[in-house]
């Protein structure tokens, strides 16, 4: 599998062999071999759910392997927790920042490893001095006394890196470090990375921005569905090679064979704007129109404003401006219940946090949005409810032992189907799906996509958000690409190519200023 044409000047600091990780219902890692070379940037790339984050969690001691082994400097190790990993010089900068917004920069850097006098009294002066020197090394003038909550996301990222460096990390994992950074901040980060490389730190770098990877990486490893599909030195690697390995030659069957006539317009958004906390706009003048039976995919990187746009449609942001229309009539309801009644249903990205009430039974989760259908004069007919839920379970092929079991007992794919069922039970006209395939296995993915096709054929308008190129290419009748809150470009299914979509999604992220002129051209 490994065509190891490595230049041998970089010594291998960490070796992963035969790593397998099983979660209930999914195989997240399947016999993965992975090397981390010191003094180099080891890039790890793959689609969402390919297993990148799981692999990193295993290396950082957050999760433990089901099978396989990890060796540091040739010696086999086992990390019971992050502390054990840190003791071997492994630091991680998480995708979701793990900082305490209520504490100062210095406090955050030394959390749980406070510098003390006699084990009791915190030596804040020496903590501050060291924090300041770390900030200098990272070319930032963030004060050690500043509250982390008051820093921008980019600055918080720098604090995370400083935290890892303060532990003398020899292997530093960066999980999508640039997703929230501005162009100038990215430049600084890259300088820091080159500097770290020189001092012999091995960096594991995860990102979705392919150009960026080619720019900064020395070695590249591609993961797909828990397996390594390519691993080589970065020299001579092109975007097309990465894309091919990420997606695979044999396309997954997402069944786009159904063809049907599109109906009248069911939904229209005009000039939707949502101001950002840090100035500017999270959602910037977005307009979309959707016909009955049409599937429109919105592609973009993290932070492109896609989920926020959905939240605006679902009345989650009172600050949002612009107009929505359902069936040509303005959507003025300000409550979620009102909008659901008008025929809008949302399938949120965060299934655990926003989609399901984990401790309630499957039945009660599924009927939660449509209880009124089973209620007459204040009496909720459990019989009718049970029948409707059973029908939905059958229609969606949800595998459940009993609908009375808590929804948490289901696998990710089946949980997702319960959320879909909940949305469908409200008889929607427009279905909003935020990352519908996140965290579910390939088989369930195919079923979810087939279901989407079928629903569209039944006349439902579907608007879905994804970071998965193949998904957006094969499912959508039309593709919108968003970046930095704006719709950059719209493609029809026939004209879209992977390269064009990736290029459009990176608009606003590129570092040179001439590119902005290009953006204007790209815009429609």
């Amino acid at each position: 599998m490994n065509d190891l044409s490595y230049n041998e000047e970089h010594q291998i600091g960490l070796k992963v062999r035969g790593a397998t990780k099983v979660y209930p219902g999914t195989l997240a890692l399947n016999e993965v071999d992975f090397d981390v070379r010191l003094g180099a940037v080891n890039v790890l790339v793959g689609e969402n759910g390919a297993g990148k984050s799981t692999l990193m969690k295993v290396i950082a001691g957050v999760e433990q392997l089901t099978a396989g082994e990890i060796a540091v400097d040739g010696k086999r190790v086992q990390f019971a927790d992050t502390r054990a990993a840190a003791a071997h010089g492994i630091g991680i900068v998480f995708q979701e920042l793990n900082l305490f917004p209520n504490m100062t920069v210095a406090d955050n850097i030394f959390i749980a490893r406070e510098k003390t006098r006699g084990g009791v009294d915190i030596d804040s002066r020496s903590q501050q001095a060291e924090a300041a020197s770390l900030m200098k090394r990272l070319e930032h003038d963030i004060s050690p006394d500043a509250l982390v909550g008051e820093l921008s996301i980019g600055e918080q990222q720098i604090v995370e890196i400083a935290k890892a460096l303060a532990q003398d990390a020899r292997i530093l994992i960066m999980d999508e470090p640039t997703s929230a950074l501005s162009a100038a901040e990215v430049e600084i980060l890259f300088r820091v990375i080159r500097d770290l490389k020189k001092s012999g730190v091995g960096i594991i770098y995860i990102s979705h921005r392919l150009e960026e990877l080619i720019l900064i990486g020395d070695y590249i490893t591609v993961l797909r569905d828990g397996c390594i599909t390519g691993s080589r030195s970065m020299a001579g690697v092109e975007v097309s090679w990465i894309v091919r390995n990420m997606i695979g030659a044999a396309s997954k069957d997402f069944s786009k064979s159904l063809t049907h006539q599109l109906g009248a317009e069911v939904f229209r958004a005009e000039d939707i704007c949502l101001p950002s906390k840090n100035g500017g706009f999270v959602v910037d003048r977005v307009s979309v129109s959707l016909k009955a039976g049409e599937i429109v995919g919105i592609y973009g990187l993290m932070g492109a404003g896609r989920s926020e746009f959905f939240e605006c449609i679902m009345a989650q942001h009172p600050m949002c401006t612009g107009k929505f229309y359902v069936d040509g009539k303005p959507l003025d309801e300000t409550s979620v219940a009102g909008r659901i009644e008008r025929g809008i249903a949302l399938i949120p990205e965060d299934r655990k946090g926003a989609g399901l009430v984990q401790i309630l039974p499957i039945r009660e989760n599924m009927s939660l949005s449509s209880l009124i259908k089973f209620t007459k004069r204040g009496y909720l007919s459990i019989k009718k409810e049970r029948k409707a839920v059973a029908d939905m379970v059958r229609d969606l092929f949800i595998k459940v032992a009993s609908v009375e079991n808590p929804v948490s007992s289901l696998s990710g794919g089946n949980q997702q189907k319960v959320v879909i069922g909940k949305a469908l039970m409200t008889n929607p006209k427009l279905l909003l799906m935020d990352e519908p395939s996140r965290g579910i296995d390939i088989g369930a993915k195919g079923e979810v996509f087939q279901e989407m096709r079928k629903l569209a054929a039944d006349g439902l308008g579907i608007l879905f958000v994804t970071s998965d190129l193949e998904e957006v290419m094969s499912l959508s009748d039309r593709i919108l690409v968003m970046s930095k809150g704006r719709v950059i470009k719209e493609f029809s299914q026939q004209e879209a190519t992977e390269e064009q979509i990736i290029a459009a999604s990176a608009v606003g992220h590129t570092t040179t200023s001439q590119k902005t002129a290009e953006n204007r051209e790209l815009q429609i």
Binding site: P24, A337, G353, A390, A401, P406, K422, T426
Partner: protein
């Protein structure tokens, strides 16, 4: 689908299923054990007179615990119920004794039914204040209800300068007599307060099990964000639970005043803790989303019988407090065990299902 699952589990894990059933019925089993123990150990425990007295004691706590259960299921807490009990007692007492001075040389007296209604309204009003603080002003439930605990208690003390309103027999001329029916009256040999408890208990259980509102209460406690995104009017649900809790507290205030034919401003101190204990003993989860009205009522009976039985056995009240605490801790520990086992059984059923499908 259900039949497949039960066939799959019944063959392999009948022991587990039995254990789970036992754990689910644990509060009921505890009630039987406590009852059986005192039937032997305490003299006169089984007499009818004793039952009437005990059930009256239990009813007071049960009312509060029912209201508290809803609040806790939504993930909140209501510390103010004890004070609302005291305040509502004083309101009823004031209306019977003094009426409302309109300030034009004219005093308005109400008949007893109007007094009941006004007192209940005051309880609901305090619940609404709690609810508004929590939903509109975003105060944490613990703090908001701690605040109203002090306010209501202070108002109760102010109403009489700390004195008792004695001899609340009322005046037949104004139709304000008959308060004592609530506390000492009986219908078909069963005290009126128990009839009211049955009515409130059934009503609450109906709301919890058979109305969209009940479902929404569980959903809000289980995952507020998911509930809101599903179209549940979260604020309205929270307002309801606190107002219902205030309503239950007002009932208790009336019943106690009626039993004593007097109202004292310190009535109801620490009642909120007993109510929380009964709810927890009945299987209500403090983290929200889980709990049953029937369980809570049984929990109230366990606590009530335990303390009355210990009194009858002559156990010192200091020891009673220790024993009560131990029982509550034990209940929560067993509850955790049940949760783990339940999750395991559900996962096994699901695994068995996937095996069958290949």
């Amino acid at each position: 689908m259900t039949s497949i699952a039960s066939a799959g589990t019944a063959s392999g894990n009948s022991n587990q299923t039995w254990l789970l059933l036992l754990l689910k019925l644990r509060t009921f089993i505890a009630l039987i054990l406590v009852f059986a123990f005192f039937a032997f150990a305490a003299p006169n425990f089984l007499s009818a007179a004793n039952f009437v007295i005990m059930s009256k004691h239990v009813a007071l706590n049960a009312f509060l615990a029912i209201g508290m259960t809803f609040v806790i299921i939504t993930g909140g807490i209501d510390l103010s119920v004890g004070s609302i009990v005291g305040l509502c007692g004083m309101v009823a007492g004031w209306l019977i004794l003094n009426g409302v001075d309109l300030g034009i040389g004219y005093t308005l007296y109400f008949n007893i039914f109007e007094i009941f209604a006004i007192t209940l309204f005051v309880g609901v009003l305090f619940g609404a204040i709690n609810g508004a603080l929590i939903t509109k002003l975003n105060v944490a439930p613990f703090i908001a209800t701690l605040g109203t605990l002090y306010v209501a208690r202070g108002l109760a003390l102010l109403s009489s300068d700390g004195a008792t309103f004695p001899n609340l027999v009322g005046n037949p001329e104004y139709g304000s007599n008959g308060l004592s029916v609530l506390g000492s009256g009986a219908f078909m040999g069963i005290p009126v307060s128990i009839w009211i408890l049955i009515a409130v208990g059934c009503g609450a259980a109906y709301i919890a099990g058979r109305t969209p509102l009940g479902r929404h209460i569980y959903a809000v406690g289980g995952n507020e964000q998911a509930a809101a995104l599903s179209g549940v009017k979260v604020n309205r649900v929270k307002m309801f639970v606190y107002m219902f809790s205030g309503f239950c507290a007002a009932i208790v205030g009336l019943v106690i005043s009626s039993q004593l034919v007097a109202s004292h401003p310190a009535t109801g101190e620490t009642f909120e803790l007993n109510a929380i204990a009964a709810a927890v003993l009945g299987g209500t989860s403090m983290s929200g989303g889980r709990g049953r009205i029937a369980g809570t009522i049984i929990g109230a009976f366990v606590i009530g019988i335990l303390s009355d039985g210990l009194v009858m056995m002559g156990v010192s009240s200091f020891w009673q407090t220790v024993i009560k605490g131990l029982v509550i801790i034990a209940a929560v520990v067993v509850d955790q065990a049940q949760q783990r086992l339940q999750a395991k059984v559900a996962l096994q059923q699901q695994a068995a299902l996937s095996k069958q499908e290949g």
